[in-house]
Amino acid sequence: MMYNAYSISNGKGTFMTKRKSRSNQGRFVPIFLLFLVALGLLIRNLIRGKEMSVLNPMGTIASEQLRLMSVSLGIMLILAVPALTILYFIAWKYRETNEKATYSPGQKHGKLFSVSLWLVPLTFVAILANLMWPSTHKLDPRKQISSNQKPITIQVVAMRWKWLFIYPEQHIVTVNYIQVPIDTPIKFELTADETPMSSFWIPNLGGQLYAMTGHVNQLNLMGTTIGDYIGKSAEINGAGFAGMKFTARVSSQTDFNNWVTGTQKSSNNFTIKDYTDLLVPSEYNKAMTYSTDESDIYSKVTDKYTKSHEHGE
């Protein structure tokens, strides 16, 4: 009586032997490689001339972030490309139809092998971590950007589903639109009102940060090229989320000054009533600019949540 009632004495495996005659197993591989090339060409054509905002930084922070990404990716590729090449080469070389390849099932892998299994990736991770630690501190969003220009503060309130911007020093308020002067550090103070967590993101200028009720998060960015860039909420916060976009215009210092004085003179004056109106959820809001005489809208927003409980910042 056999152990599992089957005759397994041949020790070969039925299907392994049965299909050995099939030699055209690799015929899909070249087709697949061709497909990849074609796909690459197709994508290249589809994105030609399109805005690649993360790869096309227009601000100091975004360019530093891109540089960090590229360097890290490069380091990883130094390990990954050879590893994958070797893997597929070995798979091909030691295919069972290749009678010439040596087969040594009893092959012993020594201590050195086991150690290098761990040491090689350890080295790479050490290099990457070494790169990452200081740059995380350097690119800490709350860290002021050094420049000989005086920074501008913009207070940001995420609302359903629009962005409200307050320029406390300039006494202007905008909705879904900001204008900032070139090469000037901008200090965004992010919060939210009656709105779920949102994420403030202008890809061309630099990475995102959450805007949350009852907290003020600081995000420092600086535009280095004149132009209009898209800003958005990257975190889902309800039905109008996809339409919660704004324009961030980086302009020359004079244009900015003109815009500020023009807006300050505007008869469109922002009052608490306007603010309460904006709290009503609405979608795909147009850009608006206002002058304002209110000086404590922002602190009222933050107080609204911190007053009810002592917490956080």
């Binding site: 009632a5 993360v54 990404m69 590893a83 030691y94």
Partner: protein, 696 residues
């Protein structure tokens, strides 16, 4: 009175939109169809005795596969809807879905894929294979295991209930981030359905995992020390320990959320002293380990497949095991990388960044170990090996994008973008789904005694791989173009639209791949003589699950094997197979308790969704009563005598010899897709022309 009886249910809760209506019709139709078929075939009794009350992990494994396979189709259809919307909802057009519907669909997709597809397949494989691999006849707690499965099934039904009643699922993203998921911003029943489907299936997972940790610790065959366990069992062991560690956290978090929504508590609200950031922390403390709970068993599968198909022992067993342990240990302390952008200080972010990168070390060690295993092997490229080779490429890309995301300043630019979505799909499709497909094609002969149709399997593999590239390479690019995830609308000036259309095409190619897999399984059964595995060892394999019949008898092994090395079965084949000694076997009795408890648990969830207090109370009492009855039942086992075992074995051997003869007489080839279509057409013709449908 009406409110007392029915809670919040009213006429408006009935389906009245096209997609809930369609969904309801589909579900009711499917249910009716099954009922009619089972009744016509007089199979109710069989269904109850052989399946619903079974405690046999092999059958439970199969049931997991069925549920997950079904849910995979559903989750897949949802992605097609997502991409259709994203291809058309540009500029003036807002597509065919409202923002709210759209958000429900991707939320449901995420939940279904993670909880009811990936988890289900993983649990199915563990159920079927782990007891066999460790040479066990039985589980440590068969009852917990059935209960786990039925809770999982109840959760799967709960996640579809909104079609029938309520008409809305959570529109919050798959983790229902607070405060968006609070009553203030999501007043409807959608989030409640979310809470209860996850709560019920999550508790099921915890129970199932406890059982498997105990089973692996206590039920191994003599001689099998932990250091001689097969690698899939090791992966499953690490995964189940993690599940035991973190799923209670999910349960607790969901309860807190439930208190917020139902009792007006303020754990995660923006007002009243609540802290939404705490929710984010808690849910990711569970959520990150969860992806590794899915991944580790797949690492195990790949390790076994590489070694078997290269016909070499794994290069460094120790490193492989250490790698898996390392991954699971570190995976518990990296959760913050999911919200670097919440504004923690640079020190905290950098710390979690380093922890995350460290995971790349054991993972790379695993990959290098697999390379070394192939080196100087004799590699056979059957479908399981194809899935492995596809996995490696996709997984490496996913891993590199993952390390990028672990660098906080880079994450600020990539977080919440489609780059992130492409990253985790590289892991969950390239890693988990490919791993599951690899495992299923490897063990299919074990499950059924039949080898899967190889020809169609190959096509399925290539369709999946090509579809994956078409879908997710553009998705990485879109992320770099600044496209955020979960967008139901965007402007054409962004230039994203062509890429969304390419992704839609990719989705269709994947759908074809999935359809081919279904065809593959049907075609396999059509050609069952040709595909019969006559040896019980189709792949020339190494571990114990192959040391018994395929499919194994309900007692798994006639004689419990003695183990003296890592490749126990390989050893046996080369050093001689021990003689069969028949002996009495203790068999756990079937129990319906798991099924009943899950029905009540479902009702508890349903009652809380609709605030029907009496139903909740009655159901909770029901659960307690069933537990008490189960506790009094002190004879959960019976004895199968040696004589009976011998009879069963001889009967099986006889049948097997007949089947072997049939198989040897059959010299057809694996059928292709065209052959399959021809067969289907002639079958349909036969029914129509010969009026066979009349019999029904």
């Amino acid at each position: 009175m009406k409110e007392f009886l029915l809670g919040k249910i009213n006429m408006d809760s009935l389906p009245h939109e096209w997609f809930t209506f369609g969904g309801s019709l589909a579900f009711i139709g499917l249910g009716l169809f099954l009922v009619i078929v089972i009744t016509r075939l007089k199979r109710w009794n069989w269904l109850w005795k052989e399946w619903i009350t079974t405690v046999d992990p092999k059958k439970i494994g199969i049931m997991y596969f069925l549920v997950s396979g079904f849910m995979l189709v559903r989750g897949g259809l949802e992605t097609l809807m997502i991409w259709l919307q994203q291809s058309f909802s540009v500029d003036k057009s807002h597509g065919f879905l409202t923002a709210d519907h759209f958000q429900q669909i991707f939320t449901a997709h995420g939940n279904i894929m993670v909880f009811f597809v990936a988890m289900g397949f993983i649990f199915g494989l563990i159920n079927y294979i782990v007891p066999l691999q460790i040479g066990a006849r039985d589980l440590a707690s068969p009852f917990l295991n059935t209960l786990g499965f039925w809770l999982f099934a109840a959760g799967a039904i709960m996640v579809s209930m909104f079609f029938l009643l309520g008409g809305q699922y959570a529109a919050t993203g798959w983790l229902a981030v607070a405060p968006l998921s609070g009553k203030e911003f999501s007043p409807g029943v959608g989030v409640d359905y979310w809470i209860w489907s996850l709560q019920i299936s999550g508790i099921g997972t915890t129970l199932g995992a406890i059982n498997f940790v105990m089973t692996i610790l206590k039920m191994r065959a003599p001689g099998m020390s932990l250091g001689k366990m097969p690698l899939f069992t090791w992966g499953a062991f690490c995964s189940m320990i993690m599940a035991v560690a973190v799923f209670p956290l999910l349960t607790a978090t969901l309860f807190l959320m439930f208190f917020d929504r139902y009792l007006g508590a303020h754990f995660f609200t923006t007002v009243g002293g609540g802290d939404p950031m705490m929710y984010t922390n808690l849910i990711w403390m569970w959520g990150h380990p969860e992806v590794y709970i899915l991944m580790l068993p797949c690492f195990g599968i790949f390790s076994e497949v590489v070694s078997t198909f290269s016909r070499k022992p794994i290069a460094s067993y120790k490193s492989n095991v250490l790698g898996m342990i390392g991954v699971s240990t570190f995976a518990l302390s990296v959760w913050l990388h999911h919200f670097f952008t919440m504004g923690a200080g640079a020190d905290v972010n950098a710390f979690f960044g380093v922890m995350t990168m460290i995971i790349a070390i054991p993972t790379s060690a695993l990959v290098f170990n697999w390379i070394a295993t192939m080196y100087k092997g004799r590699i056979n490229f059957s479908t399981p090996m194809l899935w492995f080779l596809g996995f490696i490429a996709v997984f490496s890309i996913g891993g590199m994008s993952g390390v990028l995301l672990a660098i906080p300043p880079a994450d600020f630019q990539l977080h919440n973008s489609l780059f992130l979505v492409a990253h985790f799909h590289s892991m969950v499709i390239g890693g988990v789904l490919f791993g599951v497909f690899c495992g299923i094609s490897y063990w299919f002969p074990k499950f059924t005694g039949l080898r899967l149709n190889e020809r169609i399997g190959r096509y399925a593999f290539w369709f999946w791989t090509i579809g994956f590239c078409l879908s997710f390479i553009p998705m990485y690019i879109l992320g770099l173009m600044g496209a955020t995830r979960r967008l139901d609308h965007y402007d054409s000036s962004t230039g994203w639209r062509p890429l969304f259309i390419v992704m839609l095409v990719g989705g269709i190619v994947i759908a074809v791949g999935l359809a081919l897999q279904i065809v593959q399984i049907i075609a396999t059964f059509i050609q069952k003589n040709h595909l019969r595995d006559t040896t019980g060892d189709p792949w020339n394999a190494r571990s114990l699950e192959w040391a018994t019949a395929s499919p194994p008898p309900f007692y798994n092994f006639t004689t419990i094997p003695e183990v003296s090395s890592i490749d126990a079965f390989w050893e046996m084949k080369h050093n001689g197979i021990p003689e069969t000694k028949y002996q009495d076997i203790h068999i756990p009795k079937n129990t319906a308790a798991g099924f009943y408890i899950s029905c009540f648990a479902f009702l508890v969830g349903f009652a809380f969704v609709w605030e029907i207090v009496w139903l909740a109370v009655v159901s909770i009492i029901g659960i307690i009563v069933v537990f008490i009855f189960r506790g009094f039942n002190d004879e959960p086992e019976y004895i199968l005598t040696a004589r009976e075992v011998q009879d069963l074995e001889e009967a099986r051997t006889k049948k097997h010899l007949e089947r072997t003869k049939l198989a040897n007489d059959d010299d057809t080839e694996d059928m292709g897709v065209i052959d399959f279509i021809k067969i289907v057409i002639s079958f349909a013709k036969d029914i129509v022309v010969n009026k066979r449908w009349r019999k029904w």
